[in-house]
């Protein structure tokens, strides 16, 4: 097996170019690549398009913020494609003020669209959203007497994902519900950077228990878990 380059969080963040479509793993901050996000926030790279489950938690009262919230606060996104913005009032403010374009996608549709991009499918037919605003502008198809929406594949330029463990070849394992969108995004972007808590030797992962095969991963960032995460 071929080893993958291990780079710093800053080097990883520098690989994101202005204007890129960036997929970021995590679900309300659980399973998000926090070290790379922190460096990307410092760099301030702009005009990005975000693909993520949600715009994370940003609570101005309690001061709690996680996931992509620092990038939202920095207004680094021209557009965000997510299923939920209810825990980040700043996203909603930017949307209402016309500062940021927000596209809301049903969570299951978002997951399948990302998977479709990774799997070389043009799109999928889902019943989700039929008869709602989500169907606007989309093709409807009838299959076995049921109406479906054609939802197109959604790939990206860079995936910033988070795993619990990588081996030096880039095989990944996720922990619990921190898995969420990470394995899907690993398949769907031209460049894939995996932030991991632990790096192990090739051969330390059982081939039956690899969640993301090495061939999807381009770079590894090692960032051990800190108390701050809990």
């Amino acid at each position: 097996m071929v080893e993958k380059p291990v780079i710093s969080a800053l080097e990883a963040a520098r690989k994101v170019q202005a204007g890129n479509v960036v997929h970021v793993g995590g679900f309300l901050g659980c399973g998000s690549p926090d070290a790379v996000i922190a460096e990307l926030a410092k760099l301030g790279t702009r005009d990005l398009t975000l693909v993520c489950n949600d715009s994370s938690i940003l609570d101005q009262k309690s001061g709690k913020r996680n996931g992509v919230a620092p990038l939202i606060e920095n207004r680094q996104f021209a557009k965000v494609i997510v299923s939920h913005i209810g825990t980040n009032a700043e996203t909603q403010r930017q949307m209402n003020a016309g500062e940021t374009e927000v596209v809301l996608v049903p969570q299951g549709t978002l997951a399948e669209r990302i998977r479709a991009a990774g799997a070389g499918l043009g799109g999928i037919l889902t019943g989700t959203g039929v008869g709602t605003e989500v169907e606007e502008g989309k093709q409807k198809l009838l299959v076995k007497d049921k109406v479906y929406l054609l939802e197109e594949a959604l790939g990206g330029d860079v995936a910033l994902i988070k795993a619990a463990k990588a081996d030096r070849a880039g095989n990944l394992r996720y922990s619990k519900t921190a898995r969420n969108f990470n394995p899907l995004m690993a398949t769907a972007c031209a460049l894939v950077i995996a932030e991991v808590e632990e790096l192990v030797d090739i051969g330390d992962l059982d081939p039956d228990d690899v969640h993301t095969p090495s061939i999807f991963v381009d770079f590894i960032v090692v960032s051990p878990r800190t108390e701050a995460r809990a």
Partner: protein, 222 residues
Amino acid sequence: MTEYVENKEIIARRIARMFHTGDVVNLGIGLPTLVGNYVPEGVTVILQSENGLIGLGPRPEPGKEDPDLTNAGGQPVSIQTGGAFFDSATSFGIIRGGHVDYTVLGVLEVDQEANLANYKIPGKMVPGMGGAMDLVAGSRVVVAATTHLEKSGASKLKRRCSLPLTAAGQVDFVVTDVGFFQIVGGRFHLKEWFEPYDPEWIMAHTDADVVVDDDSAACKDL
């Protein structure tokens, strides 16, 4: 006439009685989460959480929370012995594929055409649909859980939703704090009423067509 007093517990109690051992159930954030507290003894349901697990368990004791183990609301939870974790595509494959028996979720509005609105008040509040659209479109049985009236006194059950829909024609049951309704043929069928409310009170306080079937009855010992 009886005065309306909001009672979320009775809603959760009644919904919890719908389940049988082995049912796979997804409980939405807020009121639906309470349902988990009232599942009758001897009935074992399997809770699915759309962020990627089967076998959702209770919140751990303080200090035992794992940042890698949360529910769809981002709160710390646990997993039951025999549970499993999976990615979001698998999770929604379970949901969309009809492998979830019951989804219970809150509403802003629900109407007699089985439509449900709970993700957006245009110009005011747009949290987004999260997993709700898939849950309502994909689950075998959809149960809307809601107080019967708004704080303003307006009926949450409508002839036709005025807000953007979460899903069209997918709601099977509505359980409020005054009664248990099944939606059939474009009407709310009141199957059970919760005393002190009675069919007369309920019809007077519901802005939709309510039918009382011959087999309808008061629900005892909730």
